[in-house]
Symmetry: C2
Subunit: 197 residues, 2 copies
């Protein structure tokens, strides 16, 4: 019913994660009402990112070359690897300015229901990296949800005889949050993870 070019646009937009047919229509309508230069800038940004950005061969974070800036940075502590699910988690951790080690981006989490097993994420590549004797600690920073926990448990089991210290990022109450706003799972986790003062 739409003109061919609009139909194609809606179809392509609808393939993106989290964008259903209604959002795709809304975005198409928005783009057709926007300035031509703005629309071209979006199209060009998509092409350029695909042309220039790829994934680091070592840690699988976004990278503009074969090895990313963090992996190439000589000031980073090469004895610790922080394992995360996605590139955005690296950004979140870097923002804290607390962590000076390296990363490993799994590019997903285990999810048996959706058929995502260890071979579908960068587990093999992590285990290979860990054969390097410089590494003394692995911090499992997958998300504190079912998939992230399962992934952390799986990796911990794989590494139990490796001699590498395996730690898990703490779960608990968010700083600045209110106790009565927190869900019971978070409060339960915060209690069981209590520390001596």
């Amino acid at each position: 019913m739409y003109t061919p070019s609009v139909r194609d646009l809606i179809e392509e937009l609808g393939r993106l994660p989290g964008i259903g047919p209604r959002s795709a229509q809304r975005i198409a309508f928005y783009l057709l009402r926007s300035e031509r230069t703005d629309v071209y800038r979006l199209a060009d940004a998509i092409r350029r990112a695909k042309d220039q950005a790829t994934f680091c061969e070592v840690c699988f974070n976004f990278s503009e070359g074969p090895i990313c800036e963090i992996c190439e940075d000589p000031t980073r502590d090469r004895s610790v690897i922080c394992v995360v699910e996605e590139p955005k988690d690296v950004v979140a951790l870097e923002r804290t300015k607390e962590y000076k080690g390296l990363y490993h981006v799994l590019q997903g989490a285990l999810n048996p229901i959706e058929g995502i097993g260890p071979d579908r994420i960068k587990v093999k590549e992590l285990l290979k990296r860990l054969t390097d004797a410089t590494i003394i600690e692995v911090i499992l920073c997958t998300n504190p949800n079912i998939e992230g926990e399962a992934t952390a448990m799986y990796l911990a089991r794989q590494l139990q005889d490796s001699g590498i210290t395996v730690t898990r990022i703490a779960s608990g109450l968010p700083v600045g949050g209110d106790l009565d706003y927190a869900d019971e799972l978070t409060i339960g986790r915060a209690l069981s993870g209590r520390r001596l003062l």
Copy 2:
């Protein structure tokens, strides 16, 4: 923190309606993991739609030329105009195969809170079209929500002395729906709009 091309991509995606920073990151991550040809196809679809599609000079629906296919179709009934908010509403109405008249796409609805007055939508253009004596009925098909109702009321008032029959699409229970799932406003509207059998 992201590489420049990824940062640009996330920024451009984040400008789209309904896409926040987290969705933009997720889409960028998805695109960088997709096949190059798929990503190029999206970028090209965006450019092509902007190059080829525009809005019909008469009804303001999407069009690949100055006048859209519906306005140019000699078999359509030129005495009726159905007024809708967006191109997607035309698609929804055409899908019914019930309506054979013309359309007028307002490209929005009145919304005083967001500062959208009659001059921000295609009201002036509609009133100009209606000076044509061939038009005997205007069906107001704006959405049955606050903005759509306000727009319909506004247009009805503008047209009250025009001699044109002004009708409003019926509100009521959706066909196939359950009475006890419908909200009270819909039931109230369905009751007040009851018909003799």
